[in-house]
């Protein structure tokens, strides 16, 4: 009888090239995703040292952070254009496949990896982007890296890595109607804080995780980094395999059958030991809204903004005060009484077809409130096409939402899609940091349903009774 192992240990054992006592290991990277913002300095580094890309076929690039979502073929910002042109030239020079502007597969890097079948169980996946954890939904070990490491992976197809500690996030129970994967991950971070995962890889287990679609699993893995963890994953099962089958870069025929056996064998064994375990009961989770400037500053929809006077420590008190000041909120107000001016449905957290369907499902012929500007930004060209085939674009447009071109858009407001100073946005993205969606912009993180409902009501509402 062999010692039971977690999926993280199995992937680690499979991909370590070399290790010696007292040093990190050299870990082989199976898929390197690249985008325009964190790669130019890395390619330049290769050029300066006369180095090449070791495995262009295990590298895949797209443009997402900087792309305009209106009139996408016209890039008005010259600096953004230079960055995108630079990626195109770099990909040509180093033979890296690119789904750039105008390509049928262009989109947010963490949306296109899975939809093209590039993301697969057991792969080690890196990208110069902290939300690379998204790909963990497939049972891949996927984590964000900085630009120096991007250059390192381009040159060597490896990274130096300490064997990660494992944290079992066990989520049992059943999600209630109107409660989503987004609410689960927000509730989890709210319960345990923004750094409970630091130094660990999170493995999401339990009945509630098993019952999630791949889209839902991507949403929770995506926000692992908001809990401090570089990576979060879910052991692969039939849901995973069914999602991958038939996709462009997925193995075909006999190869698929072999791959499937290998993938399913990676699941964490019964009795595998984790370094730490935390739990959450999905049945108790309600729709969530963040009120502050980090994702743990979050409350259920039918509750009140906290009062700094009730904080346990002086530090907590100051943090709440600071956040309330930035957010322009008074203590103790009902979150449902807070009016909003903007709604953003999109980002690598919540821009897939299922997210858009769920958002559209709350419209019921109603219109976006006169005081609200609401935009829907599909995660990729493929998502956009599929959503349009389902008629979702028409539903949104008729209700008064803007239907945009794919990209990261208002999640980080790099492309000009920004929330104006002191205005408030219900956003399906992942970070409510100060200035994230625009200078002095006030972000409230919610699920797609909650965002769509807020767009119609003009303030936060409980989607379960909307």
């Amino acid at each position: 009888m062999t010692t039971p192992k977690t999926i993280v240990e199995k992937i680690w054992d499979k991909n370590v090239v070399y290790e010696e006592e007292g040093k990190p290991a050299i870990l082989y990277i199976d898929l390197h995703l690249v985008h325009e913002v964190t790669s130019p300095q890395a390619f330049e580094g290769l050029r300066l040292k006369d180095r090449t890309v070791r495995q262009p076929k295990r590298t895949f690039a797209t443009m997402d952070h900087n792309v305009p979502t209106v009139h996408a073929n016209v890039i008005k910002d010259e600096i953004s254009k230079l960055q995108m042109d630079t990626l195109r030239k770099n990909c040509e020079e180093f033979s890296v496949p690119l789904a750039g502007m105008g390509h049928e597969h262009q989109g947010i890097v963490h949306v296109i990896g899975p939809e093209l079948g590039l993301t697969q169980p057991g792969k080690t996946i890196v990208c110069g982007d902290s939300h690379t954890s998204t790909h963990g939904a497939f049972g891949a070990l996927a984590f964000g890296i900085g630009t120096s490491e991007v250059e390192h992976v381009l040159a060597t197809q490896t990274v130096w890595q300490q064997k990660p500690k494992t944290l079992n996030v066990q989520i049992d129970g059943t999600l209630g109607t109107g409660v989503t994967a987004k609410d689960l991950i927000l509730a989890l971070i709210s319960k345990y804080g923004v750094n409970f995962g630091t130094g660990y890889v999170l493995e999401y287990t339990g009945e509630a995780v098993r019952n999630l679609s791949m889209e839902g699993r991507m949403t929770i893995c995506n926000m692992s980094i908001e809990a401090g963890a570089r990576a979060g994953l879910v052991s692969p099962d039939e849901t995973t395999v069914n999602f991958i089958e038939g996709r462009l870069h997925a193995p075909k025929g006999k190869d698929f059958e072999q791959a499937k056996q290998m993938w399913l064998s990676l699941r964490s064994d019964e009795g595998a030991v984790y370094d730490k375990t935390v739990t959450l009961n999905a049945s108790e989770v309600e729709p969530q809204v963040t009120w502050g400037t980090n994702p743990a500053q979050c409350i259920p929809i039918n509750s009140q903004v906290p009062n700094p006077e009730t904080a346990k420590t002086e530090n907590d008190k100051n943090e709440i005060k600071h956040a309330l000041y930035y957010m322009g909120l008074e203590p103790d107000v009902n979150i449902t009484d807070v009016p909003i001016q903007h709604v953003f449905i999109g980002s690598c957290t919540n821009s897939r077809v299922e997210d858009l369907e769920q958002a559209a499902s709350v419209i019921h012929g109603r219109k976006v409130n006169d005081s609200v500007t609401a935009i829907v930004v599909p995660g990729s060209q493929t998502v956009k096409r599929q959503a349009e085939e389902k008629g979702l674009d028409k539903l949104f447009i008729e209700a008064g939402f803007e239907w945009r071109e794919p990209g990261c858009s208002m999640c980080l407001a790099m492309n000009g899609d920004a929330v104006p100073p002191n205005e408030r946005c219900a956003s399906t993205s992942n970070r409510n940091f100060e200035g994230r969606q625009g200078t002095d912009a006030r972000t409230h993180l919610v699920s797609p349903e909650m965002a769509a409902a807020a767009a119609i009501a003009g303030h936060f509402v409980d989607v379960r009774s909307f």
Partner: protein, 196 residues
């Protein structure tokens, strides 16, 4: 990168938890394609108002911290985005050492690749340093050979750092060159490794 063995410098206290990389370097400055020149944009939205004038209420603008090279911050320093522009901005501004009770993983890693030493001390030690530094003209010496932090008075603390990172920083090695000495092992591995 420049080797770092011992560093003595003026301390700047930033008494906030969860300082994220969006604060360290806001997204509007991520469009540049070079590694240089990010220091002027460090903590931009805290340092400057909407008309690009220095904000008086942000402590880094206080003349008493001019020429500072050691930043002491709160827990979970550098959380959020993986942007390496954050350590580039800190380094370009003049910071060589960041001291905090805890760091976000990616940021910590990015610092060590750019000649910035991240030092983890206990919450009490960090609080002592913040209290001292807030009075101004407070200097620390950080000794990477002996993994120790001292001031001119009685403060002395030791810290842990992975030996690999310590050697990289002490020697200022180019990591890719180091890895390429193992290239035959990578080639050998690739022959047997199956990726679907």
């Amino acid at each position: 990168m420049e080797p770092l063995k011992m560093h003595t410098g003026l301390v700047y206290p930033l008494n906030r938890s969860n300082v994220d990389t969006d604060q360290i370097i806001p997204k509007q400055f991520l469009k540049r394609i070079s590694r240089q020149g990010f220091g002027q944009y460090l903590f931009y939205n805290w340092r400057f108002d909407e008309k690009d004038r220095p904000r008086e209420d942000f402590s880094l603008n206080d003349p008493k911290y001019k020429g500072t090279s050691i930043l002491v911050g709160g827990e979970n320093f550098g959380c959020g985005s993986s942007r390496e522009h954050a350590p580039w901005a800190l380094e370009d501004y003049g910071f060589r050492i960041i001291i905090a009770p805890s760091f976000a993983d990616i940021f910590y890693n990015n610092c060590t690749k750019n000649g910035i030493l991240p030092v983890v001390l206990t919450e009490d030690e960090v609080q002592t340093l913040i209290d001292n530094a807030e009075k101004g003209d407070y200097h620390l010496t950080v000794d990477l050979e002996n993994k120790a932090v001292t001031d001119n008075h009685s403060f002395k603390a030791t810290f842990d750092l992975a030996e690999y990172s310590r050697q990289m920083l002490l020697n200022g090695w180019d990591e890719i060159s180091v890895t390429l000495t193992y290239e035959d092992k990578i080639t050998e591995f690739e022959k047997e490794h199956i990726v679907y």
